[in-house]
Symmetry: C2
Subunit: 376 residues, 2 copies
């Protein structure tokens, strides 16, 4: 049977299982062309076609319903201890206004999620998760050790404002102070009389913000405010852009990072405090896994636009499998195909020639040193 | 904005995030009309339209790719202890060949999943899960307490054979011995020279089996064997049938059972060993929650066929919200609409008149004593 069965699109009913954020109706009405589910919620796949969404994101400003970025709120005297148990990153180094990207791991040092951590106040944390029920890990540890914590998913629905004109748009709503906000730092802003967290963060490299919108009231109003204030900036509804994030090497948990990978394999070793045990339950296991024999690498795939990718694509050299491509795209601005690959150490050096096996046949490919459009 | 935005169908790309079982290509080629994701895998939504799939399931035999029912394998000296920590059901009462439905709970007694447990050999369990990362709960507890267990998701992809002619079909493959298999018991069968588990179970009330298919090799062959052997039985590809399971009251985790509900609220109190602490981490919390003030009830909704349900439907009486409908269907054989409702104690008695608010307007409805097509 042809492997072509594995790609394309399908029909999905919108069911009770698929939760929606308070921004969902506005975003949907703006013309979302399709959805996937993520953390049991709907997230749009695009609005005006892949290339136009990409061009627009890189030149103007978009508002994204990223309510799928659920928060796990952990509060109480043992909250910090519990969070630290889940990650090798030393959270004692996190500033009060900092957003801290934390690889989370199990007892074997394998990744369970890759959230962003915020300490919203003393002994109260938000773990802003990728697509897994990380809350069950925390609940398991807390119940086993009878920790003095409370754990729940609050009604928080992040709204992203992304693109080169994001500062202009945000400044029109919350004032010029937002321009001074540093990368991965947060501040409080007023949203219809309520104090909410605005962070300089987001799942693109075009710059912008994420508002941690609380509750349901006023969501549609805020959406409309943003679109009224941004008309001359060509503000549009958007969603994380596959081409933009893949060319830039923004990793996706369950695509690029899988549950069998360590932070070292994911290229996140610099985040791991390995000199001393800061309290991560996976520390002992990670100690022995600091020298991985496979790791994530940028890859450039030759030829014209790629077929849609529906499964991992094997990477071979001399007939041997030496890696897999987990994400791929047409990097329109660079007139090439970009991919994210998990490469064996034998073939992970920059400029190594390999082949990538798509469902439509093999392509020549080259391991790269850096992802596109990034300085580091 | 109209609530009609909340139902209907959408377009979903088939991506790397959506894993497929080894039966997926065969099932897809048989004409799956759409998919949802479940445990990060694809499961078909239907093949020949809701009514025809329902009629056929109740009169013939279907083969279902239910690879989304992932297994969590827990092995080692503390395996039984760890499983028991997750559930109030006393697993010491489970027979060696038994399939044990276990509500799993967190430290507050709220449901984290509703799996079926098998002890595949001494100190080795399979937890056959509904849609949540229950594995993270086990990993959290195991890491926190340094339990002597190994936890992983094995390559096991259940294949269901469901319908009144399921015995005939299974007997043609594995012999008449399968006819003697009792409900929720399992036996070993030979599949292309490999010993695998066949259970009398499945997510319908039409009778049948689930084969816990291991690995990938031979899956397509087995599928073809079943279809060749069952031609005169009118065997077809199928998938869990919403109308059949809703009218019969088979609950769905994340639809009917949500993470904020206790087993008592889900009507699973009889599964909970509350006389003594068998080792469940949620035992103390559950002790105080044995008398819920809301519980799942069958409901009959008046009028013609219902609109598709995309969100919970409020249930009211005298203008007050007294419950919610989480699943609904046309119960074709009974010429009525059936639903699964979570009802407040004030209105959960059989024959209570209420109103159900669909996106197309309110309907009269009646709380029922029993689900349809079931004797208990």
């Amino acid at each position: 049977m042809s492997q072509t069965q594995f790609y394309g699109t399908t029909t999905m009913p919108l069911t009770v299982r698929m939760r929606r954020s308070p921004f969902w109706e506005r975003s949907h009405a703006a013309g979302a062309q399709g959805y996937i589910t993520y953390n049991n919620m709907l997230i749009a796949t695009g609005f005006h076609g892949p290339q136009e969404d990409y061009r627009h994101l890189k030149s103007a400003v978009q508002v994204w319903d990223v309510g799928v970025e659920r928060q796990i709120e952990i509060s109480g005297p043992d909250a910090g201890k519990l969070v630290q148990m889940s990650t090798p990153r030393d959270i004692s180094r996190m500033g009060d206004d900092q957003c801290f990207y934390i690889p989370t791991v199990d007892g074997l040092g394998c990744m369970t999620n890759d959230p962003v951590l915020l300490r919203v106040e003393q002994d109260r944390y938000w773990v802003s998760i990728a697509d897994s029920d990380q809350i069950l890990f925390y609940k398991g540890v807390a119940a086993a050790l009878q920790l003095r914590v409370s754990i729940h998913e609050p009604h928080v629905s992040p709204l992203a404002i992304q693109g080169p004109k994001a500062d202009d748009l945000a400044a029109r709503i919350w004032g010029d102070c937002v321009r001074d906000l540093r990368f991965f730092r947060w501040m409080h802003v007023d949203v219809n009389g309520q104090k909410m967290i605005l962070a300089r963060s987001g799942y693109s490299v075009q710059g912008g913000f994420e508002l941690y919108f609380e509750g349901h009231e006023g969501a549609a109003n805020l959406w409309d405010q943003l679109f009224e204030a941004g008309t001359d900036l060509d503000v549009r509804a958007g969603t994380p852009c596959q081409a933009e994030r893949v060319e830039a090497g923004l990793l996706s948990y369950l695509s690029d990072i899988t549950q069998d990978m360590t932070p070292f394999e994911a290229g996140l070793g610099a985040m791991c405090a390995m000199d001393k045990d800061v309290g991560c339950l996976g520390f002992a296991a990670l100690k022995n896994k600091q020298s991985p024999n496979r790791q994530i690498r940028p890859i450039e795939i030759a030829g014209g636009p790629l077929p849609p990718q529906g499964t991992f694509w094997p990477v071979t050299a001399g007939g041997q499998t030496v890696g897999r491509v987990s994400s791929s795209c047409r990097a329109y601005d660079f007139d090439c195909n970009a991919g994210i690959a998990l490469m064996n150490d034998s073939h992970w050096d920059p400029q190594t020639n390999v082949q990538v096996h798509t469902q439509d046949g093999p392509r020549d490919a080259l391991v790269k040193e850096k992802f596109l459009g990034r300085t580091s």
